[in-house]
C-alpha cells in the first residue's frame, strides 16, 4: 500500500495546553481523507504541521516520505495548499495571479483555471480584494487545479461559502480526485457536505483523537439508540457506550454495538427502560453523536 501522508505519534502542545497526544493516521494514495472536529480541537494545527508551518513537540509527519517540516522544493510542487478562508494574494487580479503561479509549477495547466474564471462574473483587472468570498474561493480552486498537485491539503474549504459555492467546490474536487487518482486531505466544520465525498476520516475532540476509520464503516457501525426512562441516568464511556445524552425522560445512547447488545447492557445494569429503538443517522448526526453537542 502506498501512503502519501503518514502521521506517527504526533503530539503537540501550545505552552502547557495539550492539543493532542499520539495522533496516528495514514492517507492512501488516491483517497479522500477528512480531518473532522469541532472548532479548537486541532484541525488547523494539524494542517500547519502537515505544511511545515509548525514544528510538533514530538512524533513525525511524512509527506511523500519526507519530513513535512523540511519538504524539498520538488515535493512542495506536488502539494496544493488551500489556506482557511481561501486566502490568496488579494492585490493581484485573475490574470496577474495566474501569470505569477504558472512560473513555479512545471505541470501547470492553465485551461481548468480559465475555464473556472470564465464562469465568474469578474473583470480581468478586478483585484481579488474586491471579489466576494465565493468568487475568491473559485480563484483559489482554479489555481489548485492548474497546479495539478498529487496531494491537495484543504483547510476548511467551506468557510464563508454559501451552499451553492460549497457544492461547486466539492463537485470540482470530486471530479479531480476521481479522474487522476489524486489524494485529498480536507477539513471542514460543515460535516453534512462531506457525506459521500470522504473515504476515511479522523475525528478529533478536545481530549484528542476520538476515532480513526473509513467513513463507510463509521456510518454502518455507529448507531443511535433511544429509549424512555423515568430516572435521571448517567453512563461512563465504556466498551458499549460511546456517548449519551438525556433530555427529560428521553435517553439517547451512541454505540458501535448491536441493539441486542445494548439491550442486554441496560438490563445488566438494572435500568428500567421502554421503547428502545434504533434511530437512523446521517454523517453529521453521527459526528455530533460521537463528539457530543458541547
Amino acid at each position: 500500500m502506498e501512503y502519501v501522508v503518514e502521521v506517527n505519534n504526533l503530539t503537540h502542545y501550545y505552552g502547557k495546553k495539550k492539543v493532542y497526544e499520539n495522533l496516528n493516521f495514514k492517507i492512501k494514495k488516491g483517497s479522500v481523507f477528512g480531518l473532522l472536529g469541532k472548532n479548537g480541537t486541532g484541525k488547523t494545527t494539524t494542517i500547519n504541521i502537515l505544511n511545515g508551518f509548525l514544528k510538533p513537540k514530538s512524533g513525525e509527519c511524512l509527506i511523500f516520505g519526507e519530513d513535512s517540516y523540511k519538504l524539498s522544493p520538488e515535493t512542495k510542487a506536488r502539494v496544493g495548499f488551500l489556506i482557511e478562508g481561501h486566502i490568496q494574494y488579494s492585490f493581484m487580479n485573475i490574470i496577474q495571479i495566474e501569470k505569477f503561479y504558472s512560473q513555479f509549477y512545471p505541470r501547470w495547466k492553465k485551461e481548468p483555471y480559465f475555464e473556472l474564471m470564465s464562469k465568474l462574473k469578474v473583470l480581468p483587472n478586478q483585484p481579488l480584494s474586491k471579489m466576494s468570498c465565493g468568487q475568491r474561493s473559485q480563484v483559489a480552486l482554479g489555481l489548485l487545479l492548474a497546479q495539478d498537485p498529487d496531494l491537495l491539503i484543504l483547510d476548511d474549504y467551506s468557510m464563508g461559502l454559501d451552499a451553492g459555492y460549497r457544492r461547486l467546490f466539492l463537485d470540482y474536487l470530486a471530479e479531480y480526485a476521481k479522474s487522476e487518482e489524486k489524494t485529498i486531505f480536507i477539513t471542514s466544520h460543515i460535516i453534512q457536505d462531506l457525506e459521500g465525498f470522504l473515504e476515511d476520516c479522523v475525528i478529533l475532540d478536545y481530549s484528542g483523537v476520538v476515532l480513526t476509520m473509513p467513513i463507510k464503516e463509521f456510518k454502518r457501525d455507529f448507531k443511535q439508540y433511544r429509549f424512555e426512562s423515568a430516572k435521571d441516568l448517567s453512563f461512563e464511556k465504556d466498551e458499549i457506550v460511546e456517548n449519551f445524552e438525556q433530555i427529560k425522560n428521553m435517553v439517547t445512547i451512541y454505540s458501535f454495538k448491536s441493539k441486542e447488545t445494548v439491550e442486554k447492557y441496560l438490563k445488566d445494569k438494572n435500568i428500567n427502560f421502554g421503547n428502545l429503538e434504533e434511530v437512523p443517522m446521517d454523517l453529521e448526526d453521527a459526528f455530533v453523536g460521537i463528539t457530543g453537542k458541547y
Binding site: N48, N51, G52, F53, L54, K55, P73, E74, K76, A77, V79, F81, I83, G85, I87, Q88, Y89, S90, F91, M92, Q96, K99, F100, Q103, F104, Y105
Partner: protein, 222 residues
C-alpha cells in the same frame, strides 16, 4: 523564479516606488530653488561663508527621506504577506524558504539602492550647478550614512513584520529605531568619514535579520 517573485513584489510596491521617486524629485527641486534664491539674494562671499564656515547643510531636509522610503517599502512589501498569513502561500512555493526570503529582501534592497542612487545623482546635479566638485563630493560623503539608514530601516521593518510574536516585533522596532538614529546626525560635513565602513558593515549585517524572523515564522510562533 526571481523574476516571478520580483513581479509579485513589484505589484505590491509600485505605487510606493512612484511616490518615492516623486518625493526625491520634489526634494531636489526644492533644494535647487533654495540655492537659486540664496545665490540670487546674497553675494558670493556670503554664500561661501554659510556653506563652508557656518556649515549650513543646504540639503539637510533630505536626511529623513531614505529612512521614510525604507519604512514605506518594507511595510508595502511585507504587510500584505503577514496580513491573513499570506506568507504561508509564499513559503509554500517550490523553492527553499530561505531562498524565497532572500529574493524578497533582495528585491527591496535593489529598489532602495536604485532609488537612493537616483536621489544622489539628482542632488549631485543640483549641487554641481552652484558649487565646485569638492562640495559635491563632500555632500555625497555626508549623505552616505543617511542613505545607509534607508537600508537599516527597511531590514528592521521587514524582520519585525515577518516575526510571528508581537513582543519580538516590539523589540525589533526598538532596536531598529535606536540603530537608525545613529545614522541620522546632521551636525556638519563628512563627520562620519572615519566610520563609514562600520556603518556599511552594520547595515549589511542587518540584511540577515529577516532569516531569523522567517525561521521563527515557520517554526510556528502563532
Amino acid at each position: 523564479m526571481f523574476l516571478s517573485l520580483a513581479y509579485k513584489e513589484w505589484l505590491k510596491t509600485r505605487w510606493i516606488i512612484l511616490i518615492a521617486a516623486v518625493v526625491g524629485i520634489v526634494s531636489a527641486l526644492t533644494i535647487f530653488l533654495n540655492l537659486g534664491a540664496i545665490s540670487e539674494f546674497n553675494d558670493a562671499n556670503a554664500v561661501w561663508n554659510y556653506v563652508i564656515f557656518k556649515k549650513y547643510l543646504f540639503y539637510g531636509d533630505f536626511i529623513y527621506i531614505p529612512v521614510l522610503i525604507g519604512l514605506a517599502l518594507g511595510i508595502s512589501q511585507f504587510y500584505p504577506e503577514v496580513n491573513s498569513l499570506r506568507l504561508k502561500l509564499t513559503l509554500h512555493l517550490p523553492l527553499k524558504e530561505n531562498r524565497l526570503l532572500f529574493y524578497m529582501i533582495g528585491y527591496g534592497t535593489i529598489i532602495i539602492l536604485a532609488l537612493e542612487l537616483f536621489f544622489a545623482i539628482l542632488l549631485a546635479i543640483v549641487t554641481a550647478h552652484f558649487y565646485p566638485s569638492e562640495i559635491v563630493v563632500s555632500e555625497i560623503k555626508t549623505i552616505l550614512p543617511w542613505l545607509f539608514a534607508g537600508f537599516v530601516a527597511y531590514f528592521f521593518v521587514a524582520a519585525a513584520m515577518v516575526d510571528p510574536l508581537w513582543i519580538r516585533r516590539a523589540v525589533l522596532v526598538l532596536f531598529g529605531y535606536a540603530t537608525t538614529s545613529y545614522y541620522l546626525f546632521a551636525d556638519g560635513y563628512e563627520n562620519y568619514n572615519h566610520s563609514l565602513q562600520w556603518f556599511l558593515l552594520i547595515a549589511v549585517l542587518e540584511f540577515s535579520l529577516i532569516f531569523l524572523s522567517g525561521f521563527r515564522f515557520k517554526r510556528g510562533g502563532r
